[in-house]
Amino acid sequence: MAELARDTLREMQLRMLRIRAFDERASKMVKRGHIPGTVHTSIGQEAQVVGATMALGAGDYMSGNHRSHGHPIGKGSPLGPLMAELVGKATGVCKGKGGSLHLADFAVGSLGESGIVGSSIPIANGAALSSKVLNNGKVALAFFGDGAANQGVLYESMNMAGVWDLPMIFLCENNQYALSTPAHTVTSGIISERAAGFGMPGIRVEEGQDVLAVYDAVSKAVARARAGDGPTLVEVMTYRYNEHSEGLRLGTDYRNAEERDAWLKKDPIMLFRHYLASHGFSDDELDGLQATALAEVDAAVAFSDASPYPDLSVAFDDLYTDKESAA
């Protein structure tokens, strides 16, 4: 892999820290009732998210899933409107109508999340189709988990992306559990190897907690897509630290302590801090990144706190492009 600019390395760590700090705060806010319902955190999966999103260009597209706070953050969204959306405020990125399951920030190419597992994959495929038809050089990436890897629409989409040579990356975030179901109990074979059936490359990033390993693999897929050579399936092995969703109590330890400890030893933020420390970053600078991320999250919460809830007058806004149709 080519040497990355110092600023890029710094930005990678900052974005991972932002995701960690954002989701740790969101988790607390759910437990205190400050955020209604629940949220699905990306804590533990930051390398996989940031390695992928930073491999994309600013104008490239992505679609997400239920565990998707990290995706827009990784793509560069400001935190305030994201946090306000989680709380359901009028200043939220979707003006309080989407919530945690439906974040979208078109300004950074985030075409939206869906809580219907697997369903946003064909939408990213359509974005890639538009890029191909308009010949605008943009690529699209669909994030989905090991659970969604068993949805039929993934294979419908891989087939179309393959046969039409779409500039598309299928990014499987394999955190090894679909809610509490271990992937190996419901998944035949290796997910990345399924790519062969569609005549496209399939890459498995075993070191998915290493942001550079993910960045390298996804960058190659992006380059291939942008060159007009078609789609790639990238499977990244990772691990979520928290429960499937915050506040969920399953009453069964489907993930044992040994497994968890082994993954905690490979914490993506810690690993990359060691890497940066051995590549000319001072402890002060690295601590400063951490402080910056925490301060940004504090500011995001303050922004949300100071924001109003939506006025009832907006209830039918944006249902249709013309207001009369909503009558």
Partner: protein
């Protein structure tokens, strides 16, 4: 220009089929806007199962007329994604029955994304599909599921009954910035009618009084309107004056035109091809009850399909579908008239 308002200029017309009207409109819109493209199974080389896309692949090429694999969820989702980025896809789903495979993309996504993402995106997506029975295609290939989509805020659902409306509503649907379900009907494809030349754009959400009358209002849409007109004309010969309201759009629903008609006639029958329970007729009936109850001289009645999966055998299929004879009988009942002499068509 707008067919609904100003028709003072002399417009030349031709008599063409519903199929030809759709085909010519798709061609015109492909020419009008390079962002328009067609996608669906068999629409290119084979020119569509019902030949709606005849000649279009040849003239516009494979980037504008995409033959899709048999993967409704996948290609409807792909069309949706392309629509979100400024393309104007026109999807053909071979029949409405197969749209159930894509319903997640239609209901959970196309209908909701603009609202859920607070106007960050618009969805100029058209999904064309025929419904309807009567061709002995049996239970899974003969359904009228339009009410499923008409129920969903965020979608528009239009259902033209004539070649002229097929043209004007399809043009409107393709130029609309919101997702539009465009309902066709197997038994209408070969129906002929006068179609004005030149650009015709209907206003989505407006019903039409296609026959005026003073004794009773029949409300219908799509194929049903054809039958309603046939029955109205037949009863006219017996001295009854029947008004026929063609809905044209199921969402938005033109409640004003329905209520204005019933206010005048005092009697209403809804003729619908879908099943009775929770159907289009239930919504129309409620609209009339809530809007003009005091003007009603009799309860609103609905003539709909028998509540069974449509059987294959011709005798059973014919009995299950709402017929002209069923409609005529119910109109007489509502008007308190003696039944007509039984005919071979009556049940």
């Amino acid at each position: 220009m707008n067919t609904d308002t100003d028709n003072t200029e002399a417009v030349t017309t031709r008599t063409i089929t519903y199929r030809q009207a759709l085909n010519e409109t798709l061609r015109a819109e492909l020419e009008h806007d390079e962002k328009v493209f067609l996608i669906g199974e068999e629409i290119g080389v084979f020119e569509g199962s019902y030949k709606i896309t005849a000649g279009l692949l040849e003239d516009f090429g494979p980037d504008r007329v995409l033959d899709a694999p048999i993967a409704e969820e996948g290609f409807v989702g792909a069309a949706l994604g392309a629509a979100m980025l400024g393309m104007r896809p026109v999807v053909e789903i071979m029949t409405i029955n197969f749209s159930l495979i894509a319903i997640d993309q239609i209901v959970n996504h196309a209908a909701k994304m603009r609202s859920m993402f607070a106007g960050q995106v618009s969805i100029p997506l058209v999904i064309r599909m025929p419904g309807g029975g009567g061709q002995q295609l049996a239970a899974t290939h003969s359904q009228n599921l339009e009410v499923w989509y008409a129920h969903i805020p965020g979608l528009k659902v239009v259902a033209p009954s004539t070649p002229a409306d097929a043209k004007a509503l399809l043009t409107a649907a393709i130029r609309d910035d919101d997702p539009v379900i465009f309902l066709e009907n197997l038994s209408l494809y070969s129906a002929k009618g006068e179609v004005p030349d030149g650009e015709q754009i209907a206003e989505i959400g407006k019903a039409a009084v296609v026959k005026t009358g003073i004794d009773l209002t029949i409300v219908s849409y799509s194929r049903g309107t054809t039958t309603a007109l046939e029955v109205a004309n037949q009863l006219e010969a017996e001295g009854l004056s029947i008004e026929v309201v063609d809905l044209r759009s199921l969402r938005p629903l033109d409640r004003d035109t329905i209520c204005a008609s019933v206010k005048k006639t005092g009697h209403a029958v809804v003729f619908e091809d879908d099943w009775l329970s929770y159907g289009i007729g239930a919504e129309i009936s409620a609209t009339i009850g809530e809007g003009v109850f005091d003007f009603l001289d009799a309860p609103v009645r609905r003539v709909a399909a028998a509540e069974v999966p449509l059987p294959y055998a011709k005798s059973l299929e014919r009995a299950a579908l709402p017929s002209a004879a069923d409609l005529a009988r119910v109109v007489r009942e509502v008007l308190n008239l003696a039944p007509a002499t039984a005919t071979s068509n009556d049940k």
